[in-house]
């Protein structure tokens, strides 16, 4: 089996096909600290793409609560349990990936969810860890915690779905790395549903083929960020393109946040798929819990994020989230301003790092009344 290099686990690994990176890789960064689980992204995706026959239950984008929520039920704890305890830590992953753990007669370690596993997407929502005693009050660090996890297909560099399909019905686009499921070629075997650990391929019972997030490719091809990104009211996401590991550009906001500032971490890198959705970890969740999900760099990521106020470039990059529907290929922070640029280098958006402050007197002379401070 071919050996490919996975930068997230710091080593080569087995994969059914020769690795060839796309010209640029569709990627997304999500700042968990800002997500309020309003599900606007979920509805945006659903009304855009999954209102057809058999798609009723599908949430190509979903937002679940951690640690007690999942869609489908137990998706992460199930595969982590199957994979068994692995050593996660250090620059090189010493454990096994899902392909390396394939049982005899299988291409990958996986499992097929039950139909009912999709029936309660909001299970565990807002359930937090820890007991609240009588008379408790907010403390730092939080004595109770939970966090939201918005998820889409990760458009992995080494997709499990693509490697599982016995008909090669799934392909990864060379121009942008978006992973697509060919609706003419699929015969509904559901090997991809078994294989994907994130469970982001879905079987359509009415069409009898499987489907998945398409990375909003009609928008992305026109330099427009995905529906889930641009509709997010909390400006949680930025979607753009990552460069190949040896070719990162400091002025690309995604390269910068992932590879240089290192505040954005991949989701369950130990599966070995090199997923391309990255998360800024929630600062009030104990890092000991987050290590399993985001790797050993979480504590450093949180520390860097907490210092963002004093780091102009980091702050500027973060403030460009949700600033424009256009994909930003590069950015610059100068003085009090962060600028985002399109592919040709034209300025698309300009965001102040510090909003100007206006102080008004308590009495409005013109209207002859007192200003009140209620919201």
């Amino acid at each position: 089996m071919p050996q490919v290099y996975n930068w997230q686990i710091g080593r080569t690994m087995e994969y059914p096909y020769e690795g060839k990176r796309p010209d640029k890789q569709f990627a997304m960064i999500l700042d968990i600290n800002k997500c309020i689980a309003c599900q606007t992204c979920t509805i945006a995706c659903k009304t855009t793409w999954t209102s057809g026959r058999g798609q009723e239950y599908m949430l190509w984008n979903n937002v679940e609560t951690k640690p007690y929520g999942y869609y489908p039920l137990g998706w992460d704890v199930n595969i982590l349990n199957k994979l068994g305890v692995q050593e996660v830590g250090g620059d090189v992953y010493k454990g096994k990936t899902l392909f390396e753990s394939a049982p005899t007669g299988e291409r990958i370690l996986g499992y097929l969810p039950e139909d009912m596993d999709y029936a309660h997407p909001n299970i565990g929502e807002d359930d937090s860890v820890g007991d609240m005693a009588q008379g408790a009050f907010i403390q730092m660090p939080h004595m109770q915690w939970m966090h939201y996890l918005p998820r889409i297909c990760n458009h992995c560099t080494y997709p499990a779905c693509l490697g599982s399909c016995s008909r090669q019905s799934i392909y990864k686009r060379p121009e942008d790395g978006i992973v697509l499921l060919d609706q003419t070629r699929c015969r509904g075997y559901r090997e991809c549903v078994r294989g994907c650990p994130y469970k982001k391929t879905f079987f359509n019972s009415m069409t009898r083929a499987s489907e998945k997030c398409i990375g909003c490719y009609p928008a992305v091809e026109n330099n427009r960020q995905t529906q889930c990104t641009i509709t997010c009211i909390g400006k949680v996401r930025m979607q753009g393109f990552l460069a190949a590991p040896g070719q990162i550009r400091e002025d690309n906001p995604l390269d910068y946040l992932v590879h240089i500032a290192k505040v954005a971490k991949p989701l369950y890198p130990q599966f070995g798929l090199e997923p391309n959705t990255y998360y800024i970890p929630p600062i009030h969740v104990p890092p000991a819990y987050l290590v399993q999900m985001f790797g050993s760099g979480v504590a450093a990521a949180i520390a860097t994020y907490r210092q963002a106020k004093g780091d102009q470039k980091l702050l500027g990059a973060l403030l460009l989230f949700g600033a424009t529907p256009e994909i930003l290929y590069s950015f610059q922070v100068r003085g009090n301003w962060a600028m985002g640029y399109n592919e040709k280098g034209g300025e698309v958006v300009r965001v102040p790092l510090r909003e100007p402050i206006f102080v008004r007197s308590g009495y409005d002379e013109k209207l002859q009344t007192y200003r009140s401070n209620t919201t």
Binding site: S51, G52, G105, E106, D115, F203
Partner: protein, 293 residues
């Protein structure tokens, strides 16, 4: 042993890491017709058109054979515990159409497809070139050795018997407001209708529950643009009875081409949906010589 030589060649040319379980492969290479009757013949019947009647006289005259079915463990993903160990098959022809009546035991009728439920299926396979000295691989053919695969699906049988499915057929309490294909013209709604919108052949039965396909190796199964095969399946008392019928020759270069007194080979594959069998997770058979009387 020509068919076995091509069989081995097809494994090498497929370039897939082969996990050979025990001595299974050795057994298959060195037994010519494991479990199959040497005298399988399609009895001649004086009828016209496709042979679709379960009660036709020809089935009383036809000699049944028992075909041994092997769990598919040669290419991943495998099914070492495939449920169906044998098929009972009869054959008949009327100089224009050939029909096979295939029977097997299956306690559960599986024709409702949701994520964790698969459908019962059976397929018959013919070499497209019956005159070639070298038989293609019985495992879906090989490059240069094309096969015609006629595949009957229980889910298609349900489409034919009960009509186009609605979501409430699968989930009685499902509620929806409106689908794109109800308010947009086809050209505008097709992109939002997934496999149905691109007329994927596995989405719905059209006129027949049997899909007429070709293949030249694993992963190459392709539905033919021209559909000639027909058939019907009935499940009763824990037993499937399926007729698959096909013209002896058509104008297509990708169909079998036989005259009324020729001989050919036929192979089978069967899936027990209730045992999570689909795709390569199946039971398959070696080539069985078939003579037309």
């Amino acid at each position: 042993m020509n068919q076995n030589k091509n069989f081995v060649r097809s494994i090498r040319s497929a370039g897939i890491h082969v996990g050979i379980v025990g001595g299974v492969l050795c057994t298959l290479l060195f037994s010519t017709m494991a479990g199959a009757d040497d005298n399988f013949a399609a009895v001649y019947t004086n009828s016209v058109g496709p042979i679709m009647d379960f009660n036709a006289d020809c089935w009383n005259e036809a000699n049944p054979i028992k075909v041994a079915m092997y769990p598919q463990v040669i290419t991943t993903p495998t099914k070492p515990n495939a449920a169906i160990a044998a098929l009972t098959v009869k054959a008949a022809h009327n100089d224009q159409w050939l029909a096979l009546l295939i029977e097997w035991d299956d306690t559960t009728r599986s024709d409702r497809l949701v994520v964790d439920q698969f459908g019962d299926q059976v397929a018959v396979e013919f070499p497209i070139d019956a005159n070639s000295k070298a038989l293609p691989s019985p495992m879906m053919g090989n490059p240069g050795g094309r096969v015609n695969i006629l595949q009957w699906r229980a889910a298609f049988q349900r489409d034919i018997d009960q009509g186009k499915p609605q979501i409430q057929d699968l989930y009685p309490n499902a509620v929806f407001d409106v689908y794109p294909d109800q308010v947009l013209r086809a050209t505008d709604s097709n992109p939002y209708s997934g496999a149905l919108g691109v007329d994927n052949s596995i989405s719905r039965a059209h006129e027949s529950p049997v899909l007429d396909q070709i293949a030249e190796g694993w992963g190459t199964l392709t539905t033919k643009p021209d559909q000639h095969a027909d058939g019907k399946g009935i499940w009763e008392n824990g037993r499937w009875r399926v007729i698959i019928t096909t013209p002896l020759a058509t104008e297509s270069v990708n169909s079998l081409r036989l005259t009324g007194t020729q001989s050919t080979h036929v192979a089978f594959a069967v899936w027990d949906g209730g045992n999570q069998e689909v795709g390569s997770r199946k039971a398959w058979s070696m080539w069985v010589p078939l003579a037309l009387e």
